[in-house]
């Protein structure tokens, strides 16, 4: 047997049932694969690193005899490159489908969140196009789906969420590997490795190999060399982390570790504050800290990154105004602002249009038209709908209707 293989490769699951944990995701994925009339042609598997997303896809292809056409972050993924591989792969149904061996191809795009703006220009757009036209199933995997650029992609995919693998399951797997390698482990040692991995199976196996390979015995002593890995934490987990923190340093640590987009985070943080602090005094104090954090976000801008620690500090303060009162709650996500602006876009542009017409006629800016003239105009039009003023302002009948029925400012 290949001796110098990485254990993560050596013990990669061969069958779907070998993939440990995430049972819900597994069933969702297999039923999607088996479903001949699937509603969405693509799935996006997302979740933290090392929990078995890629492993599941590989295991499934083994089990169902699919051939995988893969592109991952090591390939350049510009629009051109993606089309070069993806187009032919997805626009023909493979001939060997008719042979008994293989059931066809699937296109597997691993690490789609690593399709980066500059170097991989147009990548996401190309992926979406391929998904729309594809004749074969498209499977994607990503860690962080909160990124803005992935939003359009998420719309065309079925989303399957992966979570951290539970610690006992990791211990169990590690023990099996030890048995296969002929190692006698102390339970405490495996437990420590598993806990240290924070639910990341791959890192647990790597750690195990690094300290146990070639040894007959594994003791707790051996695990002392392990250092905590820096975990990238997404938006959701960051929120959960900071709000349940019991002290400022703890909250600050969560923030430091996370790889969130600060502006999205600020908005979500603000949305969730009222849920966190039912007491108005606490809430006001927390918001005051948040407001200071925002001021520092403004000062950081795009260059003064060294000021970021004050931003973190104030956020941490805001999250821990009264640590004792924490009760779990459902987080609001995505930010309310984005939802609100999305739903009211039509109304807003309508009003902007009308104000543009008024501005032209009355020698004022659109804003002045909105604040100083529209309120009066509304009353006049309500009193007399066919007022000649409307035609002087060149308002269409539907503009008048809109002004009259619009919620009063």
């Amino acid at each position: 047997m290949a001796k110098d293989l990485l254990w993560v490769e050596k013990y990669r699951p061969k069958k779907i049932r070998d993939v440990v944990g995430n049972e819900l995701a597994k069933t969702a994925f297999t039923s999607w694969l088996k479903d001949k009339r699937r509603r969405k042609k693509a799935v996006l598997l997302y979740g933290p690193a090392g929990v078995g997303k890629t492993a599941l896809v590989n295991a499934a292809s083994n089990e169902f005899n699919f051939t995988i056409i893969e592109m991952n972050a090591s390939d350049t993924r510009t629009e051109k490159a993606i089309n070069k591989v993806g187009k032919p792969a997805t626009s023909f149904v493979a001939l060997d489908r008719f042979s008994s061996e293989s059931k066809g191809n699937i296109l597997f795009l691993d690490e789609v969140d690593g399709v980066f703006g500059q170097q991989d220009r147009g990548g996401i757009k190309a992926i979406i196009n391929i998904v729309k036209e594809s004749l074969i199933p498209v499977v994607m995997a990503a860690n962080d789906t909160d990124q803005k650029k992935l939003r359009p992609l998420k719309k065309v995919c079925q989303l399957i969420r992966f979570q951290q693998v539970r610690i006992p399951l990791i211990i169990h797997t590690l023990r099996k590997i030890c048995a296969a390698e002929g190692i006698k482990p102390e339970f405490e040692a495996l437990e420590r490795i598993a806990q240290n991995s924070l639910g990341d199976m791959r890192s647990a196996i790597n750690d195990l190999q690094s300290i146990a390979e070639g040894k007959p015995l594994l003791t707790l002593q051996d695990t002392m060399f392990l250092t905590t890995r820096n975990k990238d934490i997404g938006l959701y987990d960051t929120l959960k982390g900071v709000f349940s923190a019991e002290s400022v340093p703890e909250a600050a640590m969560v923030l430091n570790r996370s790889s969130i987009n600060f502006d999205d985070f600020l908005l979500s943080f603000s949305d969730n504050l009222p849920l966190r602090y039912p007491d108005p005094d606490d809430l006001a104090t927390a918001y005051d800290f948040l407001s200071k954090a925002d001021v520092f976000r403004g000062r950081v801008g795009t260059e003064n990154w060294s000021l970021l620690r004050y931003f973190f500090h104030y956020l941490a303060e805001a999250a821990t105004v009264s640590p004792k009162t924490f009760k779990p709650f459902d987080f609001i996500h995505p930010p309310m602002r984005i939802m609100k602006l999305f739903w009211t876009k039509g109304k807003r542009t309508k009003l902007e249009n009308i104000c543009g017409k008024i501005a032209l006629r009355c020698h004022v800016s659109r804003n002045t038209a909105k604040t100083d003239i529209v309120p009066f105009l509304q009353i006049m039009l309500k009193k007399q709908k066919s007022s000649p003023i409307a035609s002087w302002l060149k308002l269409e009948p539907e503009d008048v209707d809109y002004l009259v029925t619009m919620n009063k400012l």
Partner: protein, 325 residues
Amino acid sequence: MNLNEDAMWVEKYRPKTLDDIVDLTHIVESLKAFLKNPHSMPHLLLAGIPGTGKTTVALCIARELFGENWKSFTLELNASDERGINTVRDRIKDFSRYGRTGFGDAPFSLIILDESDQMTGPAQTALRRIMETSSRTSRFILICNYSNKIIEPIQSRCAIFRFSKLDKKAMVEHLKEIAEKENLRLLDEAAERIVDYSEGDLRHAINALQTTAAYKKGVIDEQTVLQVFGEASPRQVQMMLNKALSGNFVEARKMMYDLIGQYGFSGSEIVRQMQRELIKVPHLTDSQKAELTDIIGEYDYRLTQGANSDIQLSALLAQFSKFRT
């Protein structure tokens, strides 16, 4: 005049010549001196609070210079709508060089930049060169609320005129004149009420007058005026304020998002309106209002420093919700 018969009164009764202008004698006199010899006219900067006649003066100058065809020699831009550097580089630059589209003995073309204090820094810097290089072919009239927001190099290139609050008496007179022309009987108390509420803003006053006229034909009394100002004041802002002051933060914040979403207001506009409405809240004492205004001021300032207006507005509402009356 016939064309304008159905116009908003602010337009219908906008003075056409400098002589018609209300209560700005000293400004009008010095402007007339310039107009005697147009070639010697410098760029102008008109600064002052809204509704005091800055735009009107600018339009009058255009008329006096070019006569009835003034529109073909004048570029009128509202900088708050087009505030970026591209406008300056494209439209303004082109017009300042080739703007004389009409024929005749016009000495130069005129560029009126309304609300120019809303222009971005880079745009102002770009403008400054253009003002210099094109001074043979064009003149600028910059209009702004706060002249300190105009960069110094531009200020030093302009003759500055400051417009202060219009005199109450003159405003009352003016409203009465309009009422007379419209065949309305405007009672004295009613006129004074309108002027009081308008705080020296003649545009606001005339708009209010026209709205009251839509209520009742014939006589305008104090009652109608009160009714109009009650109706026209921003209800949503009032409600948001009341919700916050009664401790219902979540509802208040929802309304804030309505204002942002439906009306497209910016953070500072909402704060400005809140401040305006706060003064009118009946059940607060003067010292409470002062305290709250203090809070508004602090967050208004942070708004200019911060990255995200939603956050500052929410924080402001949270402070209000904590406030016990």
